[in-house]
Amino acid sequence: MLPLSCTEDLVHLPALGPLLVSEGVSDPPSRVEGVSFRRSARSAGRWLAAAAVAALGILVAPPATAAPATSNVLVLYSNERSLPANLEGDRGLLQTVRAPVDRPAMLFYESLGAPRVGGPAFDRIATAYLREKYASRPPRVIVAVSEEALDFLLRHRAELFPEAPVVHTGIDQLPLRSLAPLPADVVGVPVEYGFSPTIDLALRWHPRARRLVIVTGAAEPDRRFEAQLRNDVSAFKDRATTEFLAALPMHAVLRRLGELRGDAVVFTPGMFQDGDGYDLVPQQSVRAMAAAAGAPVYGAFSSHIGTGIVGGYMPSFEVMGRQAGLIVSELLAGAEPGALHLPEFTPQTLNVDWRQLRRWGIDESAIPRDAVVHFKPPTLYETHPNEVLIGTAVIVLQAGLISWLLVEYRRRRVAESAEKTRRLELAHVSRLAVAGELTGSIAHEINQPLGAILSNADAADLILESGTDRRDEVRRILADIRRDGVRASEVISRLRAMLAKHEVECKPFELNEAVREIESMLGTEARRRGLTLAIRPATGPIAVVGDRIQIQQVLINLVLNAMDAVADLPEERRTVVVSMESAAGGVDVAVRDRGHGIAPEHLHRLFDAFFTTKSNGMGLGLSIARTIADAHGGRVWAENGPGEGAVVHVELPVAGATGGPSAVSG
């Protein structure tokens, strides 16, 4: 069996070439893949030496007929190319490798199969194999993926392709220094590895965790990880107690992890081999551990993201691949390896699994901005940016519109409230005006009892002067005086009630009674004007909720208007009738006169403010009447009577009736 697995590929072809050879792997394929770069980087010193010998061999044996028209690139993997980490790196590489147009880049892939296979014999065979295989198409650039591949090349390069510069990728800074000094034509960007940032992050994200559980395996790379971790955790001894589950059988590991609770966090780089000696694929071992653990598991390699770990600081293999691809392109274009300006290292980035963040209740705001979040469901914006933008714009516009409307609404409310206050002021002024109009009647009403009181007092005086004993009569006189005094005071209190500037009330009152009071207020006025005022109350009591004074004001206003309307008419038409009838959902108070009626063109403007047909009117009475009726949930309208005159209706809701105000407040 050939020691190397190889594929070849022409850059820009989308598909990778088939895996031509798979060598030296006795395990089933699933156990082969998943080897991390890190481990690989540590283990293949011998391989590199062997490869170098092989390369030297190729160099010694001049290349057969080459195909100068292509830029051959040999990608040498330390492990199987099919490992997830390698596939990621390869994806990055293919993204950036560019060759001159006249010499398209042809990519060949070879694998050393570390760490499963190796040894001096393998090195010899591999070197010879590579030298012979590529003798006719020597690579112009060699890419060494991971430490073992570079080590192999450094050792055997002279026997293989000494002319070809080597680009290394996926190698930690530290082991790279142990290989140094590198020849000038061996270039690459080292990777920053380190477990401490991940452990620190885990302890920060789980503040309740007091136990740090670290799982490592039994294989040689596993033990190296363990050693490094034992060194790293000393920095965290104040924050958590550390427990190592090192080189335990897998079933024991899973059981121990299953017993963990919220006071623990787990960190593992994965296992190559468990305590029972079984070879494992690190990625799959991590998957099993994450599934079993009762505590969050953090990992070390980006290929482990998606297995159930929360995440960790890890370099991206794809980024490394891209970086290597860029260098390869420069070299293919003719750049001198020593003249390249390369970054010092490829930094680790935090990779997290969105689903695990949710599972362990880690707040999204805790995720650093530069973290790579995997498996986060794409937002609607990411899937439908246009629709989302349009939708957002619509919502923003709508919100703006609504806010504007709310502001306008509020301003309107304030204005309306001010308007209402002004209307009430006007209502009061209007009552004063009505009182002014009624001065004559009011004077009469007060003067009648006063006159009686005066005459009675004079009579009593005379009776007493006369000396005759007429006590009974004097007593009667005094009773009359008292009665007239009450009568006068009633007039005054009624007047006061009407003229006082009072808070608007909302109380139930009896409408018939309120209307009868109007009769006593306006009866005198009617007599003074020589006209008939007839009140036709409803048959039963009518309960209305509202402000009694305001309702009376409305009716007084309407009656006075009606009186004005009939003032100049012959006696038999000088009649004003106030009647009450029940209407749908309320009571209809109608004020009828037998005057000339309302001109049709005035009917609809009658209740507008400042509309008047009187020479000395202000045009406020009816508009105030309407305001008051509206405020009581009623309405007021006018029409011409069937034969003559006008009728003004005031419809008010009745307490208890549907649609009418039933609640009593104040």
């Binding site: 009686a452 005066l454 005459s455 009569e473 007239d484």
Partner: protein, 206 residues
């Protein structure tokens, strides 16, 4: 003026009416109350000295209308208006129509009595004048038509001859008529006869 005056109080306000009647009674007047102008008109006042205390504004026919009705019916009682809300126009009309006074309620006792005194005095004067006129008219009523003509002519200061000529009768006949008339009217001279005729004309004209 042997009879005591009767004062008619017309006011629709019962309380006020009662108090007025009471006051007038206490002051020694005889008074009678009416609740409306109609009541008053339905009960024609007895032919007695007196006056009317009338509320200016009442339901039905007003005080002013009552005043006019009284005048039409020849009831010569003087009227005093009482008003709680008099205005210039109605007071002017009332006074023009012969009201004695126009009092604003509440009226003071002195003002009321003064007004009543004036009204009754005026009524008494009226009454005296009317009696004199009545007597004169009765005396003149006994004259024949011819005698009346002769008396009128004499009152105008005409001579017998002139009168005979105007009436187309003999001068002697004129003398006979004049003598008969002077006897009937109980006057002693032609001058006195003339004064008497003149007086009657003046009284009748009022």
């Amino acid at each position: 003026m042997s009879e005591t005056p009767l004062i008619h109080v017309v006011d629709d306000d019962e309380s006020l009416r009662t108090s007025l009647l009471r006051l007038l009674g206490a002051a020694g007047f005889e008074a009678r109350g009416y609740g409306s102008t109609g009541d008053f008109l339905l009960q024609p006042p007895p032919d007695r000295p007196g006056c009317v205390l009338l509320d200016l504004r009442m339901p039905g026919p007003s005080g002013l209308e009552l005043q006019a009705a009284l005048k039409r019916q020849g009831v010569a009682l003087p009227v005093i208006f009482l008003t709680g809300h008099g205005n210039v126009a109605s007071s002017v009309r009332a006074m023009q129509a012969g009201a004695v006074d126009f009092l604003a309620k509440p009226v003071k006792r002195e003002t009321l009595f003064e007004a009543l005194r004036r009204a009754l005095e005026r009524d008494a004067q009226e009454r005296t004048r009317r009696e004199e006129a009545d007597q004169l008219r009765a005396r003149f009523a006994s004259l024949t038509a011819r005698e009346r003509e002769v008396v009128d002519s004499v009152a105008c200061g005409k001579l017998n001859k002139q009168i005979a000529h105007e009436l187309g009768i003999a001068e002697r006949t004129v003398k006979l008529h004049r003598a008969s008339a002077m006897a009937k009217l109980a006057v002693g001279s032609s001058a006195e006869l003339g004064r008497l005729a003149e007086r009657l004309r003046a009284l009748t004209a009022e």
